[in-house]
Amino acid sequence: MTESASVRPARDLDTAARGALAELLISVADDEFVIGFWDSEWTGIAPMLEEDVATSSIAQDEIGHARALYELLAELTDDDADRIAFGREAGAFRHAALLNHARGGWAFSVARRYLYESADAVRLSALARSSHAPLAALAGKMQREETYHRMHADAWLGRLADGSRDGRDRLAGAVECLWLDAQQIFAPLGGEETLVREGLLPQPMHALHASWQGQVRPVLELIVGELPAAAPARDGRRRRTDDFIWLHTEFTTVAGSEVGATW
């Protein structure tokens, strides 16, 4: 692996920077992990066979991305990726509020996928320039896979928006319901100043948020009319709902049934 002057190995980071990097990694990983589990619920019950395959494949991608991110985190904190994924209490998860909602109907999932994929793309373009070389490489690889996810999300948003009145109403209702929580993907991180100073996160969250809003607001307002002004909140990654607690119980059931088992 080549290392340019601006790219430093994690061992050169001081304690504060390592802590901040860990916070960044877990926020992205938990987002990918939780949306992957919600979307995996469509396997077998999507509105058509092609979507069974597509949603399952996308969910598998997201969980794979989470695995790779948890492994980076485990390396940084001398932990274990499986422990991080399946051994934490629900309250220790740091996913954005957008991912607190249950799967809902198909239009609801389409709206969430669109909001998430568009925000994730903005975030990945920043992470691909991170000074933490393994994160930059992983984000670069993720961007290539996410191209397919974005195509899928864009296609479905367009299909529902231009389809029947019922589909359009359901989509608009879902966007309105999720709009404020979607902002929380860009919730400020505790160690953000350090992250930006060290180049671990090349742009602050508020700048990424502005860039994302500039892209999605004009598209979504064609569907729902004017959307309220909305900003990320400090606790945007710390809220928990009964829906998420239910999901957490689901995805930890097998790991919890035989702690420490190897497969």
Binding site: M1, A54, G64, H65, P134, A137, R144, E145, M151
Partner: protein
């Protein structure tokens, strides 16, 4: 990088052993032709093989790792054989060798289209695939998501066969 002739011979042997390991999901192609082997290096008694996943969430990764360790272990050239998953450089479709592309085609998979477009946007991932059965380019994408993460589903209008394409990524 050590380039003593003795090391070269060892590395050559390792690459030829790696070329005997079939891809777990598409056994027609081996790991070297698939382009997932990034680098092979010796450090003291440790042999490290860099594995570049086609897709990050590929469930066959662990199987590939086990098979590499097992096969190279038999050579007894190093005390430890380690397989390191890496995304630097990222695996891209261009890493499949010409032989690999041909092996894919012969087993009924359209190899990824080599687009002239730089980067990876919609135009780059959606060009027309060539039917591996009849060679027709009169094909349509049925689903960019297929039975595994790395495969897309197409239909050929000429021979009326569905077929899979190794996805461009």
């Amino acid at each position: 990088m050590v380039s003593a002739p003795a090391i070269d011979a060892r590395e050559e042997l390792i690459w030829s052993e790696l070329a005997k390991i079939p891809d777990p999901e598409i056994p027609a192609i081996n790991l070297v032709d698939l382009g997932v082997i990034g680098d092979v290096r010796f450090e003291a008694d440790r042999l490290t093989v860099e594995l570049l996943p086609t897709f990050i969430g590929c469930p066959a990764l662990a199987i590939m790792q086990e098979q590499i360790i097992e096969r190279l272990g038999l050579l007894e050239m190093a005390d430890t054989v380690e397989v390191k998953v890496s995304f630097d450089p990222p695996w891209t479709s261009e890493r499949i060798t010409p032989t690999g592309r041909e092996r894919l085609r012969l087993s009924g998979f359209a190899p990824p289209v080599m687009a002239v477009i730089e980067g990876l946007d919609e135009l780059a991932v959606l060009p027309v695939a060539e039917c591996p059965f009849c060679g027709s380019r009169s094909t349509t994408l049925e689903n960019p998501f297929g039975p595994t993460l790395c495969r897309a589903i197409y239909h050929c209008a000429t021979c009326r066969q569905p077929f899979e394409q190794f996805k461009r990524v």
